[in-house]
Subunit: 234 residues, 2 copies
């Protein structure tokens, strides 16, 4: 079997497996994006989250050290109401932490140049300890303030998904009309670097210029991918 | 010039450039690690941070949307004292946010198989809004509680750097005694995947078994690298 055939086989196997996430299905806000990618032979997605607000109750050492002692008090992929957080907090016995986790997408790419448009990560997050051994350490007013920020991030996150979808769609169309993987010949530097930091204004613009259209990653603000390559063949 | 020569030239150029970070030098806790990597012909580092506690004063829309309106009230790569935070907070005019950012390292690798041991990212962070338009939204007791957590994370972070250094050193030594890049022949799956989630217990163990020794990335807890490849040559 040739390389392309192997990739297709692996893709089919992966997509036929059961969804092992807690929810068991793709989040509504990224369904179209996941479909767009899986519809192309050069890609498939292995996991995704459209972004969420989470309330975790950690062990006395926190969630990170003792993940097994960590329970989910609340999770939503939408705007979150203060009362929901307040009532969930009543169940906290350990160190409760409120998190906002932005959109994340994991994509397998057949070739290195296909990955050029698919470095997706954004880190406009929140991670806020709220209680200590079951005792709330902040006021109700602070929780209201915090949720306002979390909900703003959720809305901004949704815009980023939509922008990423539009830009990806446009890039794939251009790629197809101009022949398969035209970017291969354009690489003038021997290095393919995934880590990029960009100016904020660029990320909030439209993806209409060729340069912007190339910079498709949803790596906003301080988001980054930290691995770089010096590929053997390019 | 052959591929290896091109990489060496690019490495020399990159390492001879001025350090453009605010501090202008490599953080003390990662100096040895950076030296270890740059001493090998197949790697060089492009940026690093040993981990830090930051207090930022954002614009009314927060730091993320309007990075240009963001000022640093405090930054330390060490344990942080409550009084330092309290006095820095007095200068806040916008929305102050306390962050803990863990160790991060960006490494350029000559070949794909060299990157197998160099996916470094950990996300045991904190991002806590503290004030709103200059008004403190939490108590002094909460700040004390928060700093205890931040300082614990800083200490854990230091341990992770040390562990990563030891494991990297061991892996490089084994690689050298068993000939150049022995991993190449061991790759049985046609895909090189950078994204990995591991059980916490594994990360807190010693890197003495061959399997653990292979899993060198400092991607702890929920840390991940989200990009995968189907390399053309492997």
């Amino acid at each position: 079997m040739d390389r392309s055939g192997e990739f297709q086989k692996w893709k089919a196997q992966s997509l036929s497996k059961a969804d092992l996430s807690r929810k068991g299905s793709v989040d509504e806000d990224v369904v179209e994006l996941v479909r767009l990618l899986n519809g192309r032979e050069q890609f498939f997605t292995t996991s995704s989250c459209s972004g969420r607000i989470l309330l975790l109750d950690g062990g006395l050492n926190g969630c990170e050290i003792q993940k097994q002692n960590c329970s989910w008090l609340l999770v939503t992929h939408r705007i979150c109401a203060k009362d929901d957080v307040l009532s969930a907090l009543k169940k906290a016995r350990g160190d409760a932490v409120l998190k906002f986790e932005p959109f994340v997408l994991h994509v397998q790419c057949r070739q290195l140049q296909d990955a050029q448009i698919l470095a997706v990560r954004s880190t406009h997050g929140l991670e806020v300890p709220l209680s200590n051994k079951g005792r709330l350490m902040v006021t109700e007013e602070y929780i209201e303030f915090l949720l306002k920020i979390a909900n703003q991030k959720m809305e901004e996150n949704k815009k980023r998904i939509d922008r990423f979808y539009s830009c990806l769609q446009l890039a794939l169309e251009r790629q197809e009309t101009s022949g398969l993987r035209p970017e291969t010949n354009k690489m003038t530097h021997p290095v393919y670097t995934h880590r990029r930091k960009r100016k904020t204004e660029k990320m909030h613009g439209q993806c209409n210029s060729p340069e912007k259209q190339k910079d498709l990653e949803s790596e906003e603000d301080n988001a980054e991918i930290s691995l770089s390559f010096f590929p053997e063949n390019y």
